[in-house]
């Protein structure tokens, strides 16, 4: 088994009224050698919507909380570095 695998897989198609919804998830598997443990991170990525007229639409699943967290941590880091640079001058 490989050390790290990233795979996007579709789920079962759900009939919702006139639309058909197929959810997709992305799993990142990290397996330690010798099957001594591992880490699995599975998250939703998108949904495929098929309308009655045959039109298809892909709607991304956006993790707003994660984006906000990353932006705030980035601001904190950049702010800290800026303080350091200003003080150095």
């Amino acid at each position: 088994m490989p050390f790290i695998t990233i795979e996007t897989q579709p789920g079962e198609t759900i009939q919702a009224g006139r639309n058909k919804i197929t959810p997709f998830s992305q799993a990142i598997k990290l397996i330690l050698p010798g099957s001594r443990g591992g880490l699995v991170w599975n998250r939703p990525v998108s949904v495929l919507v098929q309308g009655a007229d045959g039109g298809e639409q892909v709607l991304p699943v956006v993790d707003v909380t994660r984006i906000a967290q990353l932006v705030l941590f980035g601001i904190g880091l950049v702010g800290g570095v800026l303080f350091w640079l200003v003080k150095r001058r």
Binding site: A16, P23, L39, V47, T65, A68
Partner: protein, 175 residues
């Protein structure tokens, strides 16, 4: 006295038996960890709410770690006769009164082995979005965790304030 000998076939059998006993639960738990990677663990069953159908979506993170060890060895141990002499009691004395093959005060060869293991793990799940399918079409509504965002905000603020404070008093300490 005959030197303790360990038959390689016996040893392999013992190791195999001990390994199987300890590794089997580990493999079973690993299989359950890998089940997290399926789509079903991310998207729950659809829920009908009025004219809308709601599909909850969550992020799942699972981590596990194990360690197992098996050991087999051979050696000498004090004969039963010696154990009685060291004070095991009168009742035992009757049982062990017959001289053993090794003889009194001698040591007998023996084989022993064992195995053990330990591990730990945790699974986290967090709602990310809900997929709403209604008469107007399908929409993906994000689930905003205000607590996590507030914590991230205060962490970033705390880092910047502490950095600024350290920069301000840094030169005075150096002087």
């Amino acid at each position: 006295m005959k030197a303790p000998s360990l038959n390689p076939t016996d040893m392999a059998g013992m190791i195999e038996k001990s390994s199987a006993a300890t590794v089997e639960p580990v493999e079973r738990t690993m299989e359950r960890l890998l089940e997290i990677a399926s789509v079903k663990s991310v998207y729950d069953s659809p829920v009908q709410h009025g004219k809308n159908m709601i599909i909850p979506a969550a992020e799942v993170l699972g981590a596990l770690g194990f360690g197992v060890g098996v050991g087999v060895g051979s050696g000498e141990y004090p004969d039963k006769e010696d154990a009685v002499e060291e004070g095991e009691g009168a009742e035992d004395e009757e049982k062990t009164s017959e001289p053993s093959e090794a003889g009194p005060g001698k040591k007998a060869p023996g084989i022993g082995g064992g195995g053990g293991g330990g591990g730990g793990g945790r699974v986290f799940a967090r709602p990310v979005a809900i997929i709403v399918s209604g008469p107007d079409g399908v929409e993906v509504e994000p689930v905003v965790d205000a607590t996590k965002i507030a914590l991230a905000f205060f962490t970033a603020l705390g880092f910047m304030v502490s950095m600024a404070a350290r920069m301000r008093r840094g030169p005075s300490r150096q002087e």
